[in-house]
Symmetry: C2
Subunit: 213 residues, 2 copies
DNA sequence: AAAAATCTACTGGTTTACCAGTATTTTATT
DNA sequence: AATAAAATACTGGTAAACCAGTAGATTTTT
C-alpha cells in the first residue's frame, strides 16, 4: 500500500532466534511496517545505527553482551528519531522503571498479542507511549504484593517516619515537633520493631517499598 | 439494546458538580452503561453501597471528607463485585501507587477522552486493568524526571550501596566483600557525597528514588 | 608511557543510632 | 467510668555511623 519510504523502519534485537523469527513473521504482513534489521547482540545494533536510520527498535532486555538498559540509554541519547520498545519475559518493576528512565517509550512482554505489538509500534512511532496490558497488570500486581502485609502505624509514627526518611536526625525531629529526643528515639524503636527493620537503612527501604510514608 | 439488568451500574463520586454532570452526560448515551448514583462526599457512597449494588465506582481522589484512597480500600475490602476506577487531575505517581495498592483496577486523568472512559469502564467491568494514556504518560514522565540528574556510581559503589539498602552494616559488608571496614566506610562517604546525602536515611531514599541500586 | 579514575586502607575523633526496660500522662474506645 | 491504645520521657550502656584528611595500589583511559 504505502510507499517503501513511508514505512516504519523496525529493528529487532534479541538473542533468541525463535523470537526474532516470530516477530519478523508477525510484522511481514503489515503494509506500513518494515523490518530493516535484526541481530542477537546489542553491539551489532549500535554498529548498524551508525550508518542506517531506524524508527523503532524492539529491544530484548536480557542480552548476552551489554544489557538492554544501557543500549536503550545510548540509543536514546544518540538518535533522537529512534524510539525503543522494550521486550522481556517477566514484568519486573525495577527493570521497567529503569527502561522508562532511560527513554524507552514502550514496553511489552514477549507473550504480547499481535494487535498489541502493532499498536505499540504505531503509537510509539507517533511519539506516544505504550505499555502492554500484561505489563500494566504486572506493574499493578507487583505494587499490590510488595505492599501487602502492611503494619499499621499511628499518626505520630507516620509523621516521624516521614522526617526520618527525609534525612533528619533524632535531635532535629525532636526540635521540630517540640518533644524530647528520647521520645523520638522510642518512636523510632517502635517503628523498627513494627516493620521488622534492624537499622535506619532498612526502615527507610521498607517505608518506601510499602509506601508507609 | 441490552436489558436494563445487564447494564453496567456506575456510581460517580466527585465534589465538583461540573465533573459529575460531564461524566453523566458522557455516559447517558451508552446503551450498556447506567449511572445509578452520584454524590459529592465519600461517606455518602459508602452509605449507598450498604443497600445497593454497583459494578463500577468512578472515584475522585481529592474529596472533602475522607480521601479517595481510604474509600477505595474500604470498597475493595467490603464489596468484591464492585470495582473502582480512580479519577484525578494530576498523575502523581505516589497517589497512583497507593490507589493500585488499595485495589483500584483503573485510573484516569480528568481530561481523559470519552473513548478512554468507556474502554476503562468496560475493561474493568470484565476484570481487567485500565490506565489511561495520560496516566501512563504521567507515570513515565514522573519516573523519567525523578531519575534525571543521576550521579554516576562505580561498580563497587553500586555493590556497596545495594548492601547498605538491604540493611547491612559496614562491618557485615566488609566481611562479605573481604575488604576492610575502613574501606567500606570510605565508599560510604563517597556515596553520600555523590548523591548529596547527609546520612544513611537519605542515602537509601535517594538510592531507591533514582533507582541507583 | 602517562594521566585519571577507582579501590584500597589508615588515624583520630565526634555524633548519632541502637538496645532493653520502665513508667507517667494523654487520648480514644467500649 | 473503666480499659485500651498512643504519646510522652527517662536511665544507662553499646554499636554503628559520620567527618576530615591522607595515601598507596590497582585498573582504566588517553
Amino acid at each position: 500500500m504505502a510507499l517503501s519510504t513511508l514505512k516504519i523502519r523496525v529493528a529487532i534485537v534479541d538473542d533468541h532466534p525463535l523470537v526474532v523469527e516470530g516477530l519478523k513473521s508477525l510484522l511481514r504482513g503489515k503494509a506500513d511496517i518494515k523490518v530493516v534489521y535484526s541481530c542477537e547482540r546489542g553491539e551489532d545494533l549500535l554498529q548498524y545505527l551508525k550508518s542506517s536510520d531506524v524508527d523503532i527498535v524492539l529491544l530484548d532486555i536480557n542480552l548476552p553482551d551489554i544489557n538492554g538498559i544501557d543500549i536503550c540509554k545510548h540509543v536514546n541519547r544518540e538518535y533522537q528519531n529512534t524510539f525503543v520498545i522494550g521486550l522481556s519475559t517477566y514484568g519486573e518493576r525495577s527493570i521497567i522503571n529503569q527502561m522508562i528512565s532511560n527513554g524507552a517509550k514502550g514496553y511489552l512482554l514477549k507473550n504480547a498479542t499481535e494487535s498489541e505489538l502493532i499498536e505499540a509500534i504505531n503509537k510509539v512511532y507517533r511519539g506516544k507511549y505504550y505499555y502492554g496490558t500484561e505489563i500494566q497488570k504486572a506493574m499493578a500486581s507487583t505494587i499490590f504484593h510488595t505492599l501487602g502485609n502492611t503494619p499499621r502505624l499511628t499518626k505520630r509514627e507516620k509523621q516521624i517516619l516521614k522526617l526520618i526518611v527525609s534525612g533528619k536526625t533524632t535531635n532535629k525531629i525532636a526540635d521540630e515537633l517540640f518533644i524530647s529526643p528520647l521520645t523520638v528515639e522510642t518512636h523510632r524503636r517502635n517503628l523498627m520493631k513494627k516493620v521488622d527493620a534492624s537499622n535506619t537503612a532498612s526502615l527507610v527501604k521498607i517505608a518506601i517499598e510499602k509506601s508507609l510514608i
